[in-house]
């Protein structure tokens, strides 16, 4: 498995992204992420636990 595929798979396995929702060009850009950055996102995703499927229109509603 290439480094790119390994990073994307790790993100997908953790539930940080679904590769099918991104274009090949976008995945190439995502794969520039560093291992340390992946660690941060994976930890945060794990912290969120098993979030049930929700509604697509639900938003954080934080504003500047």
């Amino acid at each position: 498995m290439s480094d790119t595929q390994s990073k994307l798979q790790r993100l997908e396995d953790a539930g940080v992204l679904e590769q099918r929702q991104f274009t090949a060009e976008e995945l190439t850009l995502v794969a520039t992420i560093t291992d340390d950055e992946i660690d941060v996102l994976v930890r945060l995703r794990q912290k969120l636990g098993a979030t049930a499927d929700g509604k697509n229109h639900i938003r954080p509603n934080f504003v500047v």
Binding site: E25, V30, I58, R59, N61
Partner: protein, 250 residues
């Protein structure tokens, strides 16, 4: 499990980038443009924030957590313009010799204008929800808000004011939607006047987001500053999740 849907966040083609040092751009060397790669990292953070939002907004006792949410939101919004002014001032100091700072200053000057007085509008909305104006004004920001905003002051002063792009991109990355606000209003029983500021952002922030995205994609970044903005975005994500966590723990 909810994952990011790039949807309307698709990348525009990035302009040719040059590094601060004037060395050949990443695009010219065949590497992905730093600004575009940075934006995709931000998209991942935005997706996780949406996941956190699912937990909060489907809370079984939403009316009891909504009022504290509004107070936390007010703290954040009232901190926003002073925070952006601080970044703008620092960017202006650096701008003559730093193209990244110059772009940062230009963006912030306009955005400060756009976001000015939103704290006053939100305060009016909180009063409309039944809160006492003086009590809201006297409330100090929570530790979670201080961590969120304070990190930005650190990076603005001790790293680079462009760090603030990570903060803005995560917060503005998922603008409120009218449909969701209608649901919250029904579930909480608060009057429509409570939601005026949020509804305004629902209407406005798509434009802000598009402008922010094109600005970030076109930033004259070095590897170091691209990493800084990504760190800022991830810290902002972490900070907002903490705010949700604290609210749900009450």
């Amino acid at each position: 499990m909810r994952c990011p849907s790039p949807g309307d966040l698709k990348l525009d083609h990035a302009p040719e980038l040059t590094t601060i040092s004037g060395s050949p751009s990443h695009a010219a060397m065949g590497s992905p443009p730093l600004g575009s790669a940075l934006w995709m990292k931000i998209v991942l953070a935005q997706g996780l924030l949406n996941t956190a939002a699912q937990q909060f907004w489907t809370h079984p006792d939403l009316p009891s957590v909504f009022s504290p949410f509004l107070l936390e939101l007010y703290s954040m919004v009232s901190c926003s313009v002073p925070l952006m002014r601080s970044a703008y001032d620092r960017a202006e100091e650096l701008a003559a010799a730093d193209p990244l700072a110059a772009v940062t200053a230009t963006y912030l000057e306009r955005h400060i204008e756009e976001e000015s007085h939103h704290d006053e509008w939100l305060l009016d909305d909180l009063v409309a929800s039944g809160m006492d104006r003086a009590t809201v004004l006297q409330r100090v920001p929570s530790a979670a808000v201080a961590r969120l905003v304070g990190a930005q002051y650190c990076w603005i002063r001790h790293a680079h004011p462009a760090a603030l792009f990570g903060y803005l991109a995560v917060i503005e990355g998922n603008p409120p939607l009218a449909e969701h606000l209608n649901e919250i209003q029904m579930q909480t029983g608060y009057p429509p006047e409570t939601f005026r500021c949020l509804r305004l952002h629902a209407a406005d922030d798509i434009e802000h987001l598009n402008e922010l995205r094109s600005t970030i994609v076109g930033l004259p970044l070095s590897d170091t500053y691209a990493a800084l903005i990504a760190t800022s975005a991830f810290a902002t994500l972490q900070g907002l999740i903490s705010i949700f966590d604290d609210l749900m723990a009450k």
